[in-house]
Symmetry: C2
Subunit: 615 residues, 2 copies
Amino acid sequence: MEKCKITFYPINKDMEVPVGTALKKAMNDAGLDFDFPCGGRGRCGKCRVRIREGVVPPSDSDRVHFDEEELKEGYRLACTLTVQGDLVLELPQEVTGHKILIDAAERSMEIKPHLQKVHLEVKEPSIEDQKADWDRLRDELAAVKGDKDYRITLPALQALPKVLREKKFSITAVIADNKVTGLEAGDTTDRMLGIAFDIGTTTVVGYLMDLLTGKELGAVSTMNPQTKYGADVISRITYSSQEAGGLEILHKAIIEAVNSLIGEAVEKVGARREDVYALTFVGNSCMHHLLLGLEPRYIALAPYVPVTGSTQEINADELGIKVNPAGKVYVLPNIAGFVGADTIGVILATELDESSEIRLAIDIGTNGEMVLGNKDRLLACSTAAGPAFEGAQISCGMRGTAGAIDTVRMDDEFTYTTINDERPVGICGSGLIDVISVMLDTGVIDSRGRIANPNELAGTSAEKLADRIVDLDGMRAFLLAPAAETGHGKPLFITQQDVRELQLAKGAIATGVQILLDVYGIGYDDVFEVILAGAFGNYLDKHSACAIGLIPSSLEDRVRPVGNAAGTGAKVALLSAAEYRRSARIASFVEYEELAAYPKFTEIFANSLSFPKKD
Amino acid sequence: MEKCKITFYPINKDMEVPVGTALKKAMNDAGLDFDFPCGGRGRCGKCRVRIREGVVPPSDSDRVHFDEEELKEGYRLACTLTVQGDLVLELPQEVTGHKILIDAAERSMEIKPHLQKVHLEVKEPSIEDQKADWDRLRDELAAVKGDKDYRITLPALQALPKVLREKKFSITAVIADNKVTGLEAGDTTDRMLGIAFDIGTTTVVGYLMDLLTGKELGAVSTMNPQTKYGADVISRITYSSQEAGGLEILHKAIIEAVNSLIGEAVEKVGARREDVYALTFVGNSCMHHLLLGLEPRYIALAPYVPVTGSTQEINADELGIKVNPAGKVYVLPNIAGFVGADTIGVILATELDESSEIRLAIDIGTNGEMVLGNKDRLLACSTAAGPAFEGAQISCGMRGTAGAIDTVRMDDEFTYTTINDERPVGICGSGLIDVISVMLDTGVIDSRGRIANPNELAGTSAEKLADRIVDLDGMRAFLLAPAAETGHGKPLFITQQDVRELQLAKGAIATGVQILLDVYGIGYDDVFEVILAGAFGNYLDKHSACAIGLIPSSLEDRVRPVGNAAGTGAKVALLSAAEYRRSARIASFVEYEELAAYPKFTEIFANSLSFPKKD
């Protein structure tokens, strides 16, 4: 049997086939995801390819669908083409996949969403052709998409006879894996939206994405309504386990918030809920559990195991999420009780799992999660950093909203800026790190965190700041802003207690980093890059963070903030089923390190509480 | 690498493996469905095999689990065995599958139900082993059942943490395909029931089956409650399409009946609804559609297409069917608008699709469905026989219940019997066929169906019956039983009109048989066997049926009644997932013949109305 070679451009795939092979068969055999919308009958003209090299006389169908110019340029229908000699074929862009860049993480990826829409022109039944509706549709689908064991859900089957006849057997099937989950009359393949959700303990964010182009259409966010049942993870777990119906209450609250964010998101772009077909979710393990109605109790009890560390696919309606009836929910996996799907999102966004160099990713929030390693080994841990960096447990702390002091400098004078340039009403995480750095640099505090007696500062560079050190109900404190400067007419202080809280928080993070390095068996110099995930990472001053020892100062030049990488991971998993599957592999690849069980934990933690000594 | 041969007895499967291969791996590679309940750690002692040939020194685990006698007999644990030379291994009975015989169809089959229960002793988590609950369970499952990509449903995941801890991590997983659909604390692998349903237009029957042993535990039946919305298929289709909410009403009615039959069935044997895990359903296409809530409208409109001709798997709760929450419904496929899943059941029960000889199966009910052929080709058709054989449209017709005349003879005297020996109140199908046969044999009616004038009978063998021929409101009629004999004090007649109805009914059946033979290109002599499906086939007198031309008389000796073969098919598909899959292959294999579209239909039907001439 004489053979010839087909080369598919631009993917540079080669194959050998016997002379006389139908190109349609060859393309199916090659596993190309190429559609023949009319079933390969030369009717619809959609399966166009271009002959770059080789000779193919135009078929009758080619003459119908292409003008003389196009035929000369080599355009042919793939479905009627029989291979008679070596060919180089150019595939249309949809088949080769288009890549997009996402967000600050600069993540390049190929769009291949979980659900597919396939438009079919189904042949109408007749007394000579009495095939059942579903069998007819399925066979057409197999002709267009290649033979698979296609199934159909009961709701789709119930809708089928009506929808099929609504636009004269022109119908669009929504497919998840090999299952038809939805049916729409006519050709609706130009509409398919999805939303990537990042469920934070405090804030819920949703990113509305066009699943066909990969474009982000908008973002919406709201307070997590569970906040009223507990500000942090532990109090929510307590509420869900100890209150009657507590789990159900927290579960419903988050589902309701998700539903109203979906409504808000689609309204912004003039779309409908029904245009949303897929949702992905990241969040810490507790948020993950409450979203799915899973008992979170054992996360908080030794040995701290979550219910699942795997991906989970759910029909949206099973969760009470209101989108298209064919809508599917894809939940990213957890790594451990306190390293959740949000950390998986960070790894997926930053591709630590494929990095050749060893990288350290830190996501600072209420807890601090850290991942260290590369494609050969990844270690993760969680530290109970406490919410100091979010402004909580600091006497004048606040979240990063209008009026928060967000940067502090000491050049000739002590200066600060506030968010929106309003009069200050408190200090947020980045400002707090700055002010501690200034206090440390000037000697207002020493490396053990003690605020100096003003007398001690005489003759030093800190002399200018001496009158800012005051006694506050018997506790020493540093005056940030006198009452006359502030928005609420009350002075703002950093108290000795605040410094201690900050020491605990940064000490927890530093301990995590140190233990991961120890377990990995490497030192600071082996870390190629420090990735700061989370909005906080964008605002924080690298120099200050290193000065106070939150990040080892030898790594200062290697710090890269990437914004909400967890959210980016959710987007990536939404736009690509392959990336979602990758998240499952990541979850089983990452080794979780239980810090408290590490033999030298206490020693390392104690050492991490001090600030770095000035050079 | 040195190889050795393992032979598995009694299934006679051979394989070659390198010396030193773990038997567990070899058995997995061989695709044997063999369980290692403790994950192959030599703990549970359940994976016992017997060495028939070859030498295997006992392992430490073998010495724990077997006594000296057993070791001598060759018993070993499969999980600790390493293959060092050629072996002949005897597998326990569970692995080789046990066969059962079902019903009158004498159907032999291997039991392998859709759902599996697997008991697992899961290792408890610890601070050194913090794997998530589901990942822990899944890995244990993979160790026991072989590596598969196991998934879990959301409800099962929600139940998991509690159930897992209820009996100290001893848990039974219910598995459908590769999905965990249910979880039960402890070892519940000894309880698994299923029900096979035959949804008739008039009667609904359910057979309660033990899915582990294949034993039938009982049968329950009830009137189809849809009857009050229409006695036959066409009137139900009309109701469902034309009344507001008609489809929903009919759907709910049958689901309710199914639910109450399930309750009745389990109560009879002291079981609970939760013990029922699987249901199969057969029924004609309309009953099938109403059960699933599918629009049946297009069945009744040319070109008469059903919504689906494929098998359909549904979660029981999705249909509102109340069994175990993990319960699954398996619906057999339809062949055409008027040849439904009940006919598939008949074919599956009688294995026409694997027959070497050509067989004819006739299922006589409100409609008559027929299948002709063998493993090379099967043809099916449906005839609008009308419900004459069920007693409808016959002036004194009734169903086969107490007081129905069920046999009629003319020896010296005209005699009849009734069901339960009660005084007659009507005549059922088998009695009707008998009496027509008697009337024909004696000359009371001629071959065209005309009832003779009593005068014409003088001097013939029918003379004795002459005084039974009476005039009834201007129509000639044959007296079955005078008022004095009957249960209700009214006389019973066969009128001229009744004879015409019977002619239409038997003519329809005979036409179907004739057209199938014509299309197949064979004659009566080529038919090896005539299978009569349906309860009616059990009661009907073969000789009478042939005498009136319902069945070609040359086939009289080849008639075999098989009872409710449709129901048997449902049982077979319930006990064996492979047989259920076979039903899908049957549906696409059978060719449907639209009788009305057959060119010589009118001619053949006209010829079939006459009764056979007496020899």
